[in-house]
Every structure is written in structure tokens, then in C-alpha cells.
């Protein structure tokens, strides 16, 4: 427990990918850092990764295997929203404890949406400016994969060996090549060889239920020990940040917190605050930090905080390759995805919508036969059929771009408080025209891929897109235009100079790529900037 009178140099709120990078870097730079995390520490011995379904009361259904990450709920509410979900993981390490570890760089064009497609805005930084930080993060966390020389998916210089492909992935590759669609080694923060004192993957297939050996990058296994070793680091789990408090000059002086277990309230003081609570909670914290100087919430003089909520739209298909029907079952678990289908729709010329999609492949479990839900009938023939097609399982999951629009937003409701007395976040989200057009083209293309496989194909399309698969971004966006953004290109608030927000909420726009690697690179760049400014005495 920290001394309540103590003032830290930096208070990092949130212990996920963004907070982990920020804390480690600033501790190594000599700053006294306190990290607040709303949830508890979860020891790997609590992971349910290797449990058989029949060892659990609900057989691993109802999200049961990820229950260790969801011990602390936030009373989030959805209003007038399409079928989407935002993630809330309150635990030391945040979502890094159960992410699928896909680690993709944004392409140069992904930072220039206005210049390339005439929609949204350009980011206040370029790929070239972020590239050195991508490189440092990749080397820090260990990423397997390869340089595939694709403009749409820039590569780093130092990848760990790629994961060998499954038979189904070779067959997908063969079909896709004929259609001009690339299939490449997936790039994931999963170790294929020993790295940074961590052992390699053991290919159990349960990456998203918690990796008990730290072969998957997580903040508590890979970054926090590096922060601790400096002697500058204090971690406070079970500490919920409710409101940022300002001084007469309008700078943040402290954060009002409540201990989750004792319900004791106190203030944590620091010279600088890095908010890394992720897209929903960061916006919530700023909106709930109202004062005479900032009546509509902190850093919100232009009313943009909470707006531009977006993420990924999702769909997919399950296919059962006929070549494998009746084959003796064999172990295909691996490390979930082994290949990736990067964006390809731009290769065929201009579309009547902006953006694209990629496919993640085979990240579902091989243990449960999903086809049992799709195949009609019952009885002995049904049972035999389910069994017969199971070895040929191949799945593709679509991750498509969603346009950032101001009307999609997080608000907070002062009339609805959670158990800690804090107004709850409310999600308002509708897909727009461009999202629908992109979605329709993605399902057309996915249907074509299915038709080119020698397989029984079950398409997974509803009447409208769904999202966000834990990839929501954008509610405290950076930007060039002070009227439509909250942060500058270094994740620093324009209104409050000792306030930084470096999680996914800082994204100006989103591409089809998974956001975490970019979150970490942006957080690292912000940390470098903070160190530089501190040296100059400007922070």
C-alpha cells in the first residue's frame, strides 16, 4: 500500500498493453511510477486453459473458461445500438491476459484515410514516424512471422520463426492464390523459440484462456517485471479510478480512487497522468471528471470525448474440407491462428466504399464440433456425419474496417451509478453506410472463397454486420484538427498538458488490422515524448 501523502512522478491508470509499456518505459527513464488497476492479480494457476469442459460446471460454455478475467464487472449499458460488444476486463494485465496475440502493423495508408479515400481524417502522425516504435515493441514482446513484402502489411526486421501450417491452411492457400488472395504466416506475439527468458508455445490451442507458461505476451509476465526491477514502480491492484481532480491552473493533481475490496476512498497524487483504461473506461473516466474549470468533463472543451467510437465488424464461415472426411482424428490445436489473410480488396482497383477486411484463420477450438449445430437431423446417421467431417474443419473470421463517426459514442449516466458510486458508461453505436457496403462486399468475397474450396461450407452471415470483437477504439482520439480531436500526435491532451491517453481510445481512425501492436507503439512513442519533455523541464 502506498503512502497517501506521497506524490509520484507519474500515475498510470490501467495495466493493459498501453499502461504496461508506459510504466516500464518511464520507470526505466527514472520516473517514480504508480500503476492503478481496478481488478485483481490473476495467478496463472487460476487459469482454466487446460481444463476439460467436463471438469467445469457449465462445460466451458457461457464464457466460463475466461471467468478469471471477468471477476470485476462494470455496469455497462447499451442504448440504441446495433449488435456489438465492448470488452471490459478488469485484471492486472487487462486484455493482454486473454488476447489472441495477433500483432500487425498499420500500413502507411491506414494513417491517411482522408488523403487516400476522402473520408474521415488523416492521423497526426505517419507510418514512417511510428515505424521505429513498432520495431522496438516487436523486439520487446517477441513476434513470430515473416516479412511478406506487402505494402498493405509492413513488416519488421526481426521476427521469430513462423508457426508451421496445418493441412487445412495449405489447402486454403492453394484456393486463395488462384483468386489473387494472399495467405501469409500470421504475425503473433507468441514465442516459437525461447525468448526474453520465456519458454516457447506448447501448442495447446487455448491462447485466449490464459497462457500458463507466458509464451503469449502479457503485461504482467513481460513488462511489469522490467518496471519492478528499476525500484521505481508501485502497483496497486483492486484500485478503481473514479475521477481525475484538477488544481487551480487546470492541471491534473490527483486521481480519486476507491479500494475495490475495502471500499476505502483516497487520492493518489502525481505530476503527470497516463490514462490507459481502454476505449470505454478512459472516456468514462474523463467524462466523469467534471469540475468548474471543466464542466463537461476533463479534456473535453470541444465535446469530442466519448465520440467516434468504432472498432471492427465481424463475420465468417466454417468449412469442412472433403479431403479430410473420415480421416483418423489428429491434433490440430496449434497456437490458434497460424496464417493470416491480409487485406486484398484494394488490389482489384477502387471500390465504392472505403477500407477493407482481413481474415483470421482457425482461431476457434478444434475440441467442440461446431458443425453439430449446423447439420440438420438427428439420430445415428447425424452423429456419424458430425464425427466424419470434424477433421476437415477450417474457419475464417472477417475483421473489417468501421468508419469513425461522431454520433457513435460513449456517454455516462449520472442517474445510474455502479457499486462504487460512479456513473456507468453507456454505449451508443450504429453501423453506417460505408460499413454496410464493405460488409456486403466482404461476405460476397468470403462466399467465393468458400465456393473455391472442396468443402461443405457454412456461412455465418446475418442481416447486418456485428462487431467489435474486443477491438473498439476511438473515443479520445488524436488528430490534426483541434475541433474534432482531443489529443495531439503524442497522445497528450490539448486542454490539460499533464494528461496523456495512450490506449486504443486515442486512435483517429481504424483499419482492418488488430489494434494492439499499434496501441503499444503509440504508448511507447508517448513515453519517449514524456521523457524528453521531462528532461527539458516542460512537464
Amino acid at each position: 500500500m502506498s503512502d497517501p501523502r506521497q506524490e509520484f512522478d507519474v500515475c498510470v491508470i490501467g495495466s493493459g498493453a498501453a499502461g504496461g509499456v508506459m510504466a516500464k518505459e518511464l520507470c526505466e527513464g527514472g520516473a517514480k511510477v504508480i500503476m492503478l488497476e481496478a481488478g485483481p492479480k490473476v495467478d496463472p494457476s487460476q487459469f482454466l486453459s487446460h481444463k476439460w469442459p467436463y471438469e467445469l460446471p457449465y462445460r466451458g460454455l457461457r464464457g466460463e473458461k475466461q471467468a478469471p478475467f471477468h471477476q470485476v464487472s462494470t455496469a455497462i449499458r447499451y442504448e440504441n445500438s446495433d449488435q456489438i460488444g465492448v470488452s471490459e476486463v478488469r485484471v492486472v494485465g487487462g486484455r493482454t491476459l486473454h488476447w489472441n496475440a495477433v500483432a500487425l502493423r498499420y500500413a502507411a495508408r491506414d494513417f491517411r484515410q482522408w488523403s487516400v479515400d476522402g473520408i474521415e481524417e488523416d492521423w497526426p502522425l505517419t507510418y514512417e514516424e511510428l515505424a521505429p516504435y513498432y520495431e522496438r515493441i516487436e523486439q520487446l514482446i517477441g513476434v513470430c512471422g515473416s516479412d511478406d513484402h506487402l505494402e498493405i502489411l509492413p513488416a519488421g526486421k526481426h521476427y521469430l520463426p513462423p508457426i508451421p501450417w496445418r493441412c487445412s491452411e495449405h489447402i486454403l492457400h492453394r484456393a486463395a492464390v488462384k483468386m489473387g488472395i494472399p495467405v501469409i504466416n500470421v504475425r503473433k506475439a507468441i514465442l516459437t523459440v525461447p525468448y526474453d527468458n520465456r519458454p516457447p508455445c506448447h501448442y495447446c490451442g487455448h491462447c485466449m484462456d490464459g497462457c500458463d507458461v507466458s509464451a503469449v505476451f502479457t503485461t504482467p509476465d513481460c513488462l511489469l517485471p522490467k518496471a519492478e526491477i528499476t525500484g521505481n514502480f508501485t502497483l496497486r491492484p483492486n484500485t478503481i479510478a473514479r475521477e481525475l481532480l484538477v488544481d487551480r491552473e487546470g492541471l491534473v493533481r490527483a486521481v480519486s480512487v476507491v479500494d475495490r475490496l475495502t471500499k476505502k476512498e483516497e487520492e493518489v497524487k502525481a505530476k503527470l497522468f497516463a490514462v490507459c483504461c481502454a476505449t470505454t473506461e478512459s472516456a468514462r473516466l474523463l467524462l466523469n471528471s467534471q469540475s468548474p474549470q471543466y464542466p463537461s468533463g476533463l479534456a473535453n472543451s470541444n465535446g469530442v470525448v466519448g465520440r467516434y467510437l468504432h472498432g471492427h465488424l465481424n463475420d465468417g464461415m466454417d468449412a469442412y474440407l472433403k479431403d479430410f472426411a473420415g480421416v483418423k482424428p489428429f491434433n490440430q490445436d496449434g497456437a490458434t491462428d497460424h496464417v493470416y489473410v491480409p487485406r486484398y480488396n484494394h488490389l482489384a482497383g477502387k471500390k465504392d466504399y472505403a477500407g477493407g477486411w482481413g481474415f483470421q484463420v482457425n482461431y476457434a477450438s478444434y475440441m467442440f464440433p461446431n458443425q453439430a449445430w449446423r447439420i440438420k437431423g438427428y439420430g445415428a446417421a447425424y452423429k456419424a456425419y458430425v464425427r466424419r467431417v470434424q477433421p476437415g474443419y477450417l474457419m475464417l473470421g472477417t475483421f473489417g474496417k468501421v468508419v469513425a463517426r461522431p454520433e457513435n459514442r460513449i456517454t455516462t449516466d449520472p442517474g445510474h451509478l455502479d457499486e462504487y458510486g460512479t456513473p456507468v458508461p453507456v454505449v451508443h453505436f450504429r453501423f453506417g453506410e460505408n460499413d454496410f457496403a464493405l460488409w456486403r462486399d466482404s461476405i460476397r468475397s468470403l462466399s467465393e472463397i468458400g465456393a473455391n474450396l472442396n468443402a461443405e461450407v457454412f456461412l455465418d452471415f446475418g442481416q447486418a454486420p456485428t462487431g467489435f470483437a474486443s477491438h473498439e477504439v476511438g473515443t479520445v482520439r488524436m488528430g490534426k484538427n483541434p475541433k474534432t480531436s482531443v489529443l495531439n500526435g503524442f497522445c497528450q491532451s490539448r486542454d490539460v498538458k499533464n494528461l496523456f491517453v495512450t490506449d486504443g481510445s486515442c486512435f483517429t481512425t481504424s483499419s482492418e488490422k488488430n489494434p494492439t501492436l499499434t496501441i503499444m507503439a503509440l504508448s511507447l512513442r508517448a513515453a519517449d515524448y514524456i521523457k524528453q519533455q521531462r528532461r527539458r523541464g516542460e512537464l
Partner: protein
């Protein structure tokens, strides 16, 4: 919509059962939950008997492996329904009653066949109940030790020192599997 649901699980924090409700080792390793002294929580003994018969008809024992009865799927269903909301519980109670009434007029096999007549586009309560009953049977059977190990002969959930890649000779790959390094762009 099964996989859509799977994607959503990532965001289903509120639905995840609390660890402290069960503890992390609810049963000894390797032993099936639904313990031998399991007490029914929702079904009456008669309803449980009916569910047992119906689920066994949906996934029966065959020369390859035991079926839903041996996997005690009705007890899994009881736990799941008992922990579901009122609407779901009412649907089960009414569905089983209707199934029993149909069976009295003909036979249980004919009642089940009637309920399955328009699978995928059900129009009656009985047909809608079939979808629920079949889904529960699938979930219960293929998450049981019998379903996983004996029927599907699943080989994973283990520790490997290296992933072997594709070692099978499959028909369409016989003329040469493309190298992972070949690409189009």
C-alpha cells in the same frame, strides 16, 4: 450464428459465472462434473426421464461410441435450465409437456420426428422446442468425456514440444503442398 456468439464471448463479461461461485477446482482433474450424487434442480424425475430418452434419440449409442444417455446429458440440461431465466424455463416445461402429450397419442419417436419436421424454419412451439432440445444435446454430449474422447477421439489439449505442421497426405495435396513462403500480392 454459433460462431458469432463465440466472437461475442470476448465481450460477455457480465454473463461469465463468477469464479467464487464454483471455485477453480470444482471437481478433481479428469473426473466429469455432474457428480454421481447430483440432485435435480429443475426437472422433475419424470421430466428428467423424458429428457434422457429424447437426448439419447438425438445422439444415440452406436457401435462407435456411447450416446447422450451414457454421457448423462439430461443432468447437464437440468443444470443449464435451472440457471437460465424464466422464459427459458417455461419453454422447457411446456415443451416437455407437449412432447409427452404427442407421445401419448403416437410414440415418442413420432413425437420427436414431428417436432423436427421443419428444422431451421420452425413454425410451432413444438418445432421451436426441438431446436432448443437438440442444441442442449449437442452442447452436453460434445463437452462430455464420452463425446470428446470416445466419439470424436479428439487428440489435442496437450503439451507439444513442436507443432508438426501438415504431416497428412491428403488427396488434393498429393501433387505438392504449396510452400508457406509462396505468396501473391
Amino acid at each position: 450464428m454459433r460462431r458469432r456468439k463465440a466472437l461475442k464471448i470476448v465481450a460477455l463479461a457480465a454473463l461469465a459465472p463468477k469464479l467464487d461461485a464454483w471455485g477453480t477446482s470444482a471437481c478433481p482433474p479428469g473426473e466429469a462434473w455432474t457428480p454421481s450424487d447430483y440432485q435435480l434442480r429443475f426437472f422433475t424425475a419424470e421430466e428428467n426421464e423424458l429428457v434422457d430418452q429424447l437426448t439419447e434419440m438425438i445422439i444415440p449409442a452406436d457401435p462407435h461410441s456411447p450416446g447422450a444417455h451414457a454421457a448423462r446429458v439430461s443432468l447437464f440440461a437440468d443444470l443449464m435450465v435451472a440457471s437460465s431465466n424464466d422464459a427459458i424455463q417455461k419453454q422447457w416445461r411446456a415443451g416437455l409437456k407437449q412432447m409427452q402429450e404427442e407421445a401419448t397419442q403416437s410414440s415418442l419417436a413420432q413425437a420427436l420426428a414431428k417436432s423436427a419436421l421443419h428444422e431451421g424454419r420452425p413454425a410451432t412451439d413444438l418445432e421451436r422446442f426441438f431446436a432448443v432440445l437438440k442444441g442442449m444435446t449437442i452442447d452436453g454430449y460434445y463437452t462430455s468425456a464420452i463425446g470428446i474422447h470416445q466419439d470424436l477421439q479428439y487428440q489435442g489439449n496437450t503439451y507439444l514440444s513442436a507443432f508438426p505442421g501438415c504431416t497428412l497426405r491428403v488427396r488434393s495435396a498429393q501433387s505438392g503442398v504449396p510452400s508457406p513462403k509462396s505468396e501473391v500480392s
